[in-house]
């Protein structure tokens, strides 16, 4: 994969993921009760204590109307970014994402918001320079974070006995928002060996990510496993945002890993 192709695909997938994020929020803000919970009145205390801005500016920037405006701005910038890979559109996306995260007291969806910042940063580094080495740096930044995210997630799990014994997975699935997942988990409650196998599949999948730079010939297979992994996470826990933002980072991994192969 060439550098320009990797940047192009990463940028477009990122724009697509952020368009979906914006669309989701846009639909939510049209629901009657959304601003009841995430009202400025409820959030005012944290915003005024946490932002070094005047109260009037905070009230303006984080009002319901401005929030909807920022979401629409994100969607527009994302559509532009899908067709024209320019630093300005992605700079707007960085701004809108930051404002939205702050509006949700830090994150709306945890890890996917963090990874969005990672991919945005890498893409902005790549877009803001005509030097090939700087562009490579942008993609490498994304690749390092993605590989590290898998490995760190696995490392954090394997030190806990619940994961090593297979007990963690049914506990996690029993907290799913989907009734069918909870029922299936309860149905297989006695099949502890199954959960043991699945837990270790997750642990091995996450931990071996660190080997990708050294065994780049397996990148495609790992990517397919990752796509399946993120789909299963969505299907069982409802985390659809994770799927798209992690997928957007994969062209950067393919390119960065291939760089190591050519050296």
């Amino acid at each position: 994969m060439s550098l320009s192709l990797a940047i192009s695909i990463t940028g477009r997938l990122l724009a697509f993921a952020m368009f979906l994020q914006g669309l989701e929020l846009f639909l939510l803000t049209r629901k009657k009760y959304f601003f009841e919970i995430w009202s400025f009145t409820n959030l005012k205390g944290d915003l005024e204590k946490g932002l070094p801005l005047s109260n009037s500016l905070i009230a303006f920037l984080f009002s319901g109307v401005m929030f909807k405006t920022i979401i629409v701005l994100q969607m527009i910038a994302a559509v532009i970014g899908l067709f024209y890979l320019d630093a300005f559109s992605f700079g707007i996306l960085f701004f809108t994402h930051l404002m939205i995260c702050i509006r949700f007291r830090g994150t709306f969806n945890g890890g996917s918001d963090m990874m969005t910042f990672v991919v945005l940063t890498g893409v902005l580094i790549a877009f803001n320079s005509s030097h090939v080495e700087t562009q490579k740096l942008g993609l490498s930044y994304i690749a390092i974070h993605i590989i590290y995210s898998y490995f760190k997630a696995g490392l954090s799990k394997i030190i806990h006995a619940d994961w090593r014994s297979g007990l963690a997975l049914p506990v996690l699935l029993e907290r799913s928002l989907f009734l069918d997942i909870r029922l299936i988990t309860k149905k297989f409650h006695t099949k502890k060996h199954l959960y043991f196998i699945f837990c270790w599949c997750v642990l091995i999948f996450e931990l071996i990510a660190l080997g990708l730079p050294m065994f780049s010939q397996f990148t495609l297979y790992y990517f397919l496993a990752a796509a399946l992994f993120h789909f299963v996470i969505y299907y069982s826990l409802g985390l659809n945002r994770f799927f798209w933002i992690w997928m957007s980072a994969w062209p950067a991994i393919f390119y960065s890993v291939s760089l190591l192969q050519t050296k």
């Binding site: 989701e24 929020l25 639909l27 939510l28 629901k31 009760y33 959304f34 009841e36 919970i37 009202s39 009145t41 409820n42 959030l43 205390g45 944290d46 204590k49 946490g50 932002l51 070094p52 801005l53 005047s54 109260n55 009037s56 500016l57 930051l98 995260c101 702050i102 007291r105 830090g106 994150t107 709306f108 969806n109 945890g110 890890g111 918001d113 963090m114 990874m115 910042f117 974070h145 590290y148 898998y150 760190k152 997630a153 954090s156 799990k157 030190i159 806990h160 619940d162 994961w163 963690a168 506990v171 996690l172 907290r175 928002l177 989907f178 969505y234 409802g238 659809n240 945002r241 799927f243």
Partner: protein, 158 residues
Amino acid sequence: MRFFKTMTTNLPTRFQFKIFVNLIRAMFPNWNFFDRIAYGFELEFKVKNSYKWERISFDQKRLPLGLFISPNCSMALAQVNILEHFARDIQELQAIKTEIHSKDLEDLTTFKMLRSILRVKLNESGFEDKVIQFKIVACDQVEKIDVYISDWIILGPI
């Protein structure tokens, strides 16, 4: 220069760096996903003259295009997150204060958001009583522990 002056006019003297860092924490990645399978949290409520606690459900249905957009599910996950944050806020308060008053908790942002969640959820189910008590319950496979039980509160209209 004028813009800078406008931005910083009446800068709140109660600026807290810790809250600022929390607001921008998405910029500092943390990849500890589902590492510790500790307690899950449930939200329950009861009305006056009743001994029965009822659980607030955040259950969702999977939509056909849910992989692309799933607003209700994402919102439900965010609401469950508020429960977890509230439980964490209580733990943090317990660590710094020997005695916690109702006002300490009612001033928390997470308390206000929880109250709003209750208002929304009970309104959705056509519930008419406006005076309720709620509690946060920590659950694992073995036990359930009441983390917090509120005073009687008036939910008020939406």
